[in-house]
């Protein structure tokens, strides 16, 4: 693997909830992403994957840990230094209905990115650039004068992507960019993202809960559970030979488009709910729902170790 472009080390984000209670949304995660690579980050709702994405882009201040972009620690940057880094690191949001300001035209929504970084010398230049960008993502230049409510979900998501592209970033965090969209539109957006990556060499952190989409999109995949990464591997390896029992359970839930196969397929059903991140279980965080948990799991937290070359998992029995 080539050298790391984005490097996350021991990142933690804790929220204070009431007196002496701490919600450990992201609890010590580490990974690297190479230039031009896509890393998928999956996990069920509430596992901290969106918080991880927002902490990496410093929308939330990290509690501890390092996030470095080509060797510079972003978490240590001052306000003015951070602004320059924001140009290199952008985000695409989950809900295309909430991510566009309903009171602004598309021209102003995308133009704001240009205004903040002083990328448009004149109004005419600004308008031309916005129209160029809209055409790049498959929208029309005439769309610039309209308001967000005049667009469909898929179109809005394209506008959200355009806004991120406007500052010409290198690293983009996609925070579940397709989960709010209709299935037929999901493929269009995914293909647009892949196409843009090929043309412009973006590095993606692709957050999602749809495993099949992540497989299609990502070079490597990290599986998150209760604020921690439990398995990290190249996409084919992870799907072919999952090592962590949680990953196995997740993969077994993917429906197969073949009724006979689907019937014979063994589905691992997890019992119980996700434990509260305010009060996580002792030892291995997954032990309360794990089919193979033993006494050792309650006492000792498993190390995140390389179980096969390039495949990491945190389980005593992996």
């Amino acid at each position: 693997m080539s050298e790391a472009f984005v490097e996350i080390q021991g990142l933690r984000k804790y929220f204070n909830v009431g007196k002496n209670r701490v919600l450990k949304a992201v609890n010590d995660i580490s990974f690297t992403i190479a230039k031009g690579e896509t890393l998928g980050l999956v996990g069920e709702s509430g596992c901290g994957k969106s918080t991880a994405g927002r902490t990496i882009t410093r929308l939330y201040e990290p509690t501890s840990g390092r996030v470095s972009l080509s060797g510079v620690d972003v978490t240590k940057l001052s306000k003015s230094q951070l602004k320059a880094y924001r140009r290199r690191m952008q985000m695409i949001f989950q809900d295309p209905y909430a991510s566009l300001n309903p009171r602004m035209t598309i021209l102003d929504i995308i133009g704001e990115a240009l205004d903040i970084h002083g990328l448009a010398p004149s109004r005419a230049h600004r308008k031309r650039r916005v129209e160029e960008l809209l055409e790049l993502v498959g929208l029309n230049a005439e769309h610039a004068s309209r308001y967000p409510h005049e667009f469909s979900g898929g179109q809005r998501q394209r506008i959200g992507i355009t806004r991120a592209l406007a500052v010409e970033p290198e690293f983009i965090v996609c925070d579940e960019p397709i989960s709010a969209l209709d299935v037929s539109i999901q493929a269009q957006i995914i293909n647009l993202l892949i196409d843009l990556q090929k043309r412009m060499g973006f590095t993606y952190l692709f957050i999602a809960h749809d495993l099949s989409m992540v497989k299609y999109m990502s070079d490597r995949v990290a599986v998150m559970y209760l604020g921690k990464i439990v398995e990290l591997a190249r996409s084919e390896d992870l799907y072919d030979r999952p090592h962590h029992p949680y990953t196995k359970a997740l993969l077994s839930a993917i429906p197969v488009p073949d009724p006979d196969l689907e019937e014979r397929k063994e589905r691992i059903v997890l019992s119980g709910d996700l434990p509260s991140p305010v009060n996580p279980p002792s030892g291995c965080p997954f032990r309360t729902r794990c089919p193979i948990a033993t006494g050792r799991c309650a006492e000792e937290e498993p190390a995140f170790r390389e179980v096969r070359p390039g495949q990491w998992a945190s389980c005593h029995y992996a």
Partner: protein, 310 residues
């Protein structure tokens, strides 16, 4: 639609028509922005529109009636004091023989001015203070909110009386007195809105682009909170007018010969069983104004509430 061609009869009546992609992006019906929706809901609300036209009428009268009326509000004619309403003095005269019609509309000018000025001051301070308090949250919010609560807990009359130690009773004093505590409600409304909106993805997106906090507050959050802000504004105008009337009634407001509805009611109340018209007219217009603002404000609130959208 006249501009849509009717399909011509072909040999095969069920032959598919040619698809024309050039018209695919054309929007047939003009789409309405959120503001147009609000205007539509407001204009179809009869009660709110009654309030609105009543306000327009009152404002026009306040400005133009004193200009065309033959009497002014300060010249007294002791021969003609305490006249009941007749064809020359429509609203009668007071104990100094001053024309009450002229005084009522002069009073309307003062009352409306005080109401609007106090509401606008509340608006500006409330948006800035509430915006900062709600957006930053945490310790900033804690400190700023405690300060507002302390200010809010001081009895209002005490503030006014203390203020009169330093300032002469006048219109400015009244407006200052009302503004000292009046902005707090607006600030709380704005604070609540900010807390709700600041974690919306469009605000986060702007932050991710590198927008400053001030830009996010005033370009993104405040425009989206405009509905509740406008409603609070229209409802705070009558309360300011009422407070002015109340303070003038207590003798802390504008001084004679300038009239406000409050001072006129104060004068009228002393002789209400003998010369009831001296109380009736200013009281009627004060009530009408407050009524108009209230129904208009209510209508505005309904218009901004998307749950009522039909």
């Amino acid at each position: 639609m006249a501009d849509l061609e009717t399909p011509r009869a072909t040999a095969d009546p069920f032959a598919p028509l040619q698809r024309d992609p050039s018209g695919a992006e054309r929007i047939q019906r003009r789409s309405r922005t959120a503001w147009q929706d609000v205007r539509y809901r407001l204009t179809t609300n009869k009660l709110a529109m009654t309030g609105f036209w009543l306000l327009i009428l009152l404002v026009l009268m306040a400005f133009f009636a004193p200009l065309v009326w033959p009497f002014d509000h300060y010249t007294n004619d002791l021969q003609l004091n305490n006249q009941p309403p007749d064809s020359t003095h429509w609203f009668g005269t007071d104990d100094l023989g001053r024309d009450l019609f002229a005084r009522t509309w002069k009073g309307a000018q003062i009352s409306l001015f005080v109401g609007v000025a106090a509401a606008l001051i509340d608006l500006v301070i409330g948006i800035v203070y509430g915006g900062i308090m709600g957006y930053y949250g945490g310790k900033v919010d804690e400190v700023m909110n405690r300060f507002a609560e302390i200010l809010y807990s001081i009895p209002y009359l005490l503030v006014v009386i203390l203020l009169l130690v330093f300032m002469e009773p006048s219109l400015t004093t009244i407006i200052v007195a009302m503004s000292i505590t009046g902005w707090i409600n607006m600030a709380w409304i704005v604070r609540g809105q900010m807390m709700q909106l600041k974690n919306q993805e469009f605000a986060l997106a702007s932050k991710a682009l590198g927008a400053s906090s001030m830009r996010i507050i005033f370009r993104h959050l405040v425009p989206n909170a405009m509905g509740p802000i406008l409603v609070t504004l229209t409802l705070s105008v009558p309360s300011a007018i009422f407070t002015e009337a109340f303070l003038s009634f207590l003798g802390l407001g504008v001084q004679s010969p300038v009239a406000s509805w409050g001072t006129m009611i104060n004068d009228g109340v002393q002789s209400m069983s003998i010369y009831p018209w001296r109380l009736f007219f200013p009281a009627l217009f004060l009530s009408l104004t407050i009524f108009a603002f209230n129904v208009f404000g209510d209508g505005l609130r309904d218009a901004f509430d998307p749950k009522l959208k039909k």
